[in-house]
Amino acid sequence: MRYEVSHVTRYETTEPVSVCHNIARLRPRQTPSQMLLGYELLIDPEASIRSERIDSFGNSVTYFSASAGYSALRVEARSHVDVSPAVIEGLEQSPPWDLLAAELSQLASSVDPVDPRQYLYDSPRIYRNHEFKEYALESFQAGRPVLAALRCLTTRIHKEFRYDPTVTNVSTPIREVFAKKAGVCQDFAHLQIAMLRSIGLPTRYVSGYIRTYPAKDKEQLIGAAASHAWLSVFTGDPSVGSDGWVDTDPTNNKFLTDEYVTVAWGRDYTDVAPLKGVFVGSGQHSLHVEVEVREVATAASKADE
């Protein structure tokens, strides 16, 4: 499936801002199931300096600053991607989850010590605890195949937690989400990560988009029209997912499909915030975000017409 993504962020200020420094993580990643065909980042007014680098998670980061003074800032990321994830099958045939967790807890294990293991620990917005562990263990019974257990946990969160943007905000702690049993995709992703790390499975936070359907066509997926977040679990089985990482979305109760565009991943939202800024100046700020993920015809589908 091929998409054109437009992600627009607009800031408006009541007083002119003399200088602002920004970090953007808006460029979709290349993965075994996602090809980036085109990307541009439009900044208006033009940034006085701009540089690109790859962060320690492999995400592409754009740093830019504007020091000419402005009272409105518009940042648009335009991406053109082709996604073709394999369908996750054979849930009951996947390896038992607890063998993997045990292996990872050894100092000299066969698992690549650098990549998956960095997602085993607490991170700025996520911590492990007994409560989360207990909740996860209801799905992760001893010896249960990891994918089946994962599916089960995702479904439970989807069912037991209410989607409600008014209950939480960007800094609501996960224990509050857990207590209120409500939140948005970011909250559910953080919480499920906390549960999986609490039972010793490396889990990362994924930021990206989910496709937008034409309004009257079909029911919209939750999280369209904004950036979306889900999570990815290391299963230890390189034949599934992407090098053994399997993405799951508790908000929509799905494994990764061709409806998803992956932008960046890290330990939690702190590592991959799409746009983050510090400015100098006074006054009130307002900001608006618009995301559109539009399906475009591929060469193959054109030939069919």
Binding site: S51, R117, V278, G281
Partner: protein, 865 residues
Amino acid sequence: MSGTFSTSVPATGPLAIDGFSPLARTFNEFADRSRWQVTVEHIQAIPPKERDEYWQRADRFVQENGVAYNAFHDKDGKVRPWEVDLFPLVIAEAEWKQLSDALCQRARLLQAIVADSYGPQTLLERNLIPPDLVYGHPGYDRAFHDLPRPDSGDLALFGFELARSPSGAWFVMADRFDAVAGPGYALENRLAVSRTLPGAIKAAEVQRLAPFFEKLQEYLKSCAFRNVDDPRIVLLTGGPSQPGYFEDVFLAQYLGYFLVEGGDLAVREDEVFMKTVDGLLQVDVIFNRLRESELDPLEVTGATGIGVTGVVNAIRSRNVAVVNAPGYGLVESPIWMRFLPKLCMELLGEPLKAHSIATWWCGRDEDRKRVFDNLDTLVIKPAFEYSGGREYIMADLTPAERQDVIDKVQAQPGDYVAQERIQRSSAPTWGKKGFGTGYLALRAFLTTSVGQSRNEASLATHEKGLAKPDAPFTVMPGALVRVADLPQPLPLTISAGHSSKDAWILSSTPVQPSSLLPESTAVRQPRRNQHLVPCRVADNLFWFGRTLEAADFSARLLRSVLTRIESDRPNSEIRELPALIRGLSSCGLIDPDYLVAELAKSLPPIDEVITRPFEETATAKGIRSHVNELVRLASSSRDRISVDSWHAIRRLDELLTVADQPGFITEDALELLDEVLLGLAACSGLITDGTVRGAGWRFYMLGRRIGRAERMIEFFRAAWPESGAVPRSLLDAVLEVMDGRITYRSRYLADLDPLLVLDLLLIDDTNPRSLAYQLWRLDGDIDSLPRPTSASGLTALQRSAKRAMSDLQLADLGPLSDPETPEQLHQLLAGIEVKLKDVADRLVRRYLVLSGSARQRDEGPIRPI
């Protein structure tokens, strides 16, 4: 455990010091006769009855010299928690050399570990350490990954906290890299002791500390990425709210660097600039004394905003060097100590010489078992916090507390380490109560040494193919020695302990007799950049001048009122009193309602409220709040204010504490006001005599001119009658408040004439207390401020100042003093007041605020939903 790190102690007959009786089973530093002999002879030559005097002299020196005092933390004037111990710890050269070598090796090891953890991560890849040490470390910040490091190394100043066990072996109790505290205190101890015992320090051939700081300067200079002859180096401090601030001030002054706070620096186009009244000046090297977790609000998770926004990217772009490089906070936590011996073999190919205190990590089964089997001999601490915070000495806990700790460890074993307790070594002390016995904690300091052969140091590392060749280090020949009354564990922060002493490292070759601060030629280089003033400093000095004048004027006015109230006449008979009370009210010294006759009737009589400006809860502009503000401003500009001026300001602060005592009455207030006025005069006199006439001085004087002029105008407008003749007694009072009585009498002898009074106080620009004089000097100072070279003609600021001055110059005294047209004077003064305010506003906008403070954008609305 001892090995090469222990030292042999020659057996000799003991020296005797009364009161020194160390506990058995501690290592006695004093047992080695040869190293102590000269020092002890000198000390014992002092007649016992003079000993206290010597100690008091040293103590006074330390109290008065700044590192100790922090106006923001403690009104009693002490943040330095310990007293001076005048008895130096003497250490033989050979022993110190051995210890230094061991510490340098440890430094190389920790440097290699940090470089690897924030770089290729081969230690993790090779499974040499559990991933917890890095990935599970809350201080591990991704922003510090792969930052370019200066070729000469990335460590400017770091320390090791040491203790000597009964076996005579030194152990490292903690590694300190992130904004390490203590070198300033060590210097200060040396200064105090060398002034008190100059003969002893000469005779004993004690190694000087200055060369170490020269090394540090040399190193900092070498860090610049930009190829310039004279790189600009600044010392970044967390500011007056941070505990280390006064030490930062001391070090900046001593080393000759600009002291900057985060807000003084601006990142533009990935380059770092200092905001000065002359504009933006590029910075090459930041000697960072701010904790790395605060370095950059944009990139560092959890930074609160006292840092420098964008500085991490400026490092990435190789436009600025920050040392110590961010990232070293990682290895400050005690969990690393568990793995150092193995890592030293792996990384450096040699056994670790500077042993850590024995450490076990509860995250490993075999360690945890050992810990639980030996709990009573251990100290339990959080594995990832830096050593010196929470810790549990198991043997000292109640059964309930003990169980609580055990429960915590069992719930999250990986979060805890256990360390052996150590019995510290003993040495004689010399404190308030004379000689005694103390147990020692020693903090040694290191810097990177440039210009030496690095081959030897880095060979082993190189062979292993790990890290870049690392620099050799220089150890300060001296230390901060904290002294406790008991040999038991002493908390590892520098604030713990009973007293603190100097460490004397002996030299086998003659030491040039020179004391440290002013005499040291190498440290004191001529500074060409003295005229450069950071905006924040100029702002502080401006407000300092303004506040000083406000305080002076208020005190004079208050004194005039008090004198009258205290006289035998009833208040109702003092004709000028209502006008003076209006003056008090306009200056904010009493409730502004006294200005309005109708409202004043319902207010308490003046006698009851007149002492309020002294109280801690005074109105916004009372004497007390002026003095508090002076102390605050002076503290924030300590690097610009002489020690004497600082003492004068502190004394003023102490003076006012009298007013807080019960039974403080108006009579006392009168006496106090005299002293306050003298104190203020001392401050301004000392500043006038002791300040270089640079831009900083100019802003201070601008503040004074504006402060004085605005107060005079306020007072005149409130006190001068709006109709009718001016009573003679009021003319006299006005002259008194404006300090013009003597001049008037000597000039005119005759009766008081409103025209002559106004001439002297407003128009006469030879009278330094006149309004004309303030405006004339203001205009001159503004003309000499730096301004854009492109500007032609006058700036708006200059025009405002000149307009204010010409208003007064063009004024006609006749109508102004005519009782028929009192509105003339009021109009003139109102016009000047508006222009003066415009001058002040423009001044602040143009020179003092180059940009506001940094704020994080609220990203709430763009969260993924």
